[in-house]
């Protein structure tokens, strides 16, 4: 498992508090519900995940980021792999919020964005990591 990944996660955790937004709706709550990977699943019954719903601070968008109010998502095969596999350790270690697919609306825009996306836009996205080539990803997934 790559140490680069660990370092990036720590940096992101530290940086996420207290950033100013370039633009936002006025009525954002301060906390939200999220499904956070909190422990290992001991057998292939995922019902225990219902207890993983966790209150978190609503994050604020940093440089080149947007905040999306999520309306829809889905469970993909890789979402299942993530909580039943070796990689689940990585996710648990950082109390990762699960899930990749998003449909929703933009409610805040961070600094230094290019102006293409605005508050109120109806959007969709896959929240996979940016910037790793397939080969790098395979290496990072390797034991």
């Amino acid at each position: 498992m790559s140490l680069r990944c660990v370092g990036a996660a720590l940096a992101a955790t530290v940086a996420i508090s207290g950033m100013a937004c370039a633009g936002a709706t006025s009525d954002l709550p301060s906390s939200m519900e999220a499904v956070v990977c909190v422990r290992e699943l001991t057998h292939k019954n995922y019902s225990a995940m219902d207890d993983w719903l966790t209150p978190l601070d609503v994050p604020q968008p940093e440089k080149r980021q947007v905040l999306i109010k999520v309306v829809g998502s889905s469970v993909n095969p890789c979402d299942v792999d993530l909580v039943k596999s070796f990689e689940a350790m990585l996710a648990r270690a950082f109390h990762k919020t699960l899930g990749f697919d998003v449909s929703g609306t933009i409610v805040a825009v961070g600094p230094d964005t290019d102006g293409r996306l605005k508050v109120g836009d109806e959007v969709w996205t896959d929240l996979g990591e940016m910037g790793l080539s397939s080969t790098e990803k395979i290496v990072e997934m390797g034991a």
Binding site: A9, N45, R64, L67, G104, L127
Partner: protein, 242 residues
Amino acid sequence: MISFVSHHIRADDVGAFAEYAIADERQVGLKPKKLSWAQAGVVPLVGLTNLESFYAAGAPWFDKSNVTVVVTSGQGGTGHIAVPMAKALGATTVISTASTDNVEWVKSLGADVVVDFTKETVWSTLPDDSVDVVYDNIGLPGNADAAMKALRVGGHLVMIQGDLSEHPKDGVSQTRILCKADDYRKLDTIAAMVDAGNISDVRVQNTWPLAQIGEAYNEQASGSVVGKVAVSIGSPPNATVQ
């Protein structure tokens, strides 16, 4: 040994199963208006995976006259988007598979031939050296070797899970794809296919609220999902644009 999750994990703690999510602006596209919120929430990851897989197999194929593409499991979450996408990218003939009850539906998605996988494998129906592309989104043991027999020289095998062939055919490429969520223009390409009516039947088998995420996982893990398992998280806000 390589241990796979068939997608990459973010290095930070942000995810989609939450009322609010952070995204990099470069990975966010405008939702196609023809899709409901639930439908739009099930497409991005599988859609991007399909698109990158077809690009790896030489798509778009409009400059070629007769391109035959095999898409395994046309009724699954990945496959039911891949079948019409292959057509939209210029495939002449799409061959897919489904269970008995879903054969006609997968044909309606655009497949020219649909093999009932409860009766025979798609591989048993394919003459040697007869297809140009195999996009295997299932990766059952033996699939890659069977696909190699069916592929003709110049062809491409693309897999998103399972093992590549240990006996590749000379002149046939094989690739394993992990999709990158780094460019909204790929989402725009998929949105254009939706707007044009090429991808029109996004099937949501079931929708679960965030508080029952475990049941959504149980359903996905059952391995028999037709279409996608959706998660309903919030209602769209009233347009309170500042």
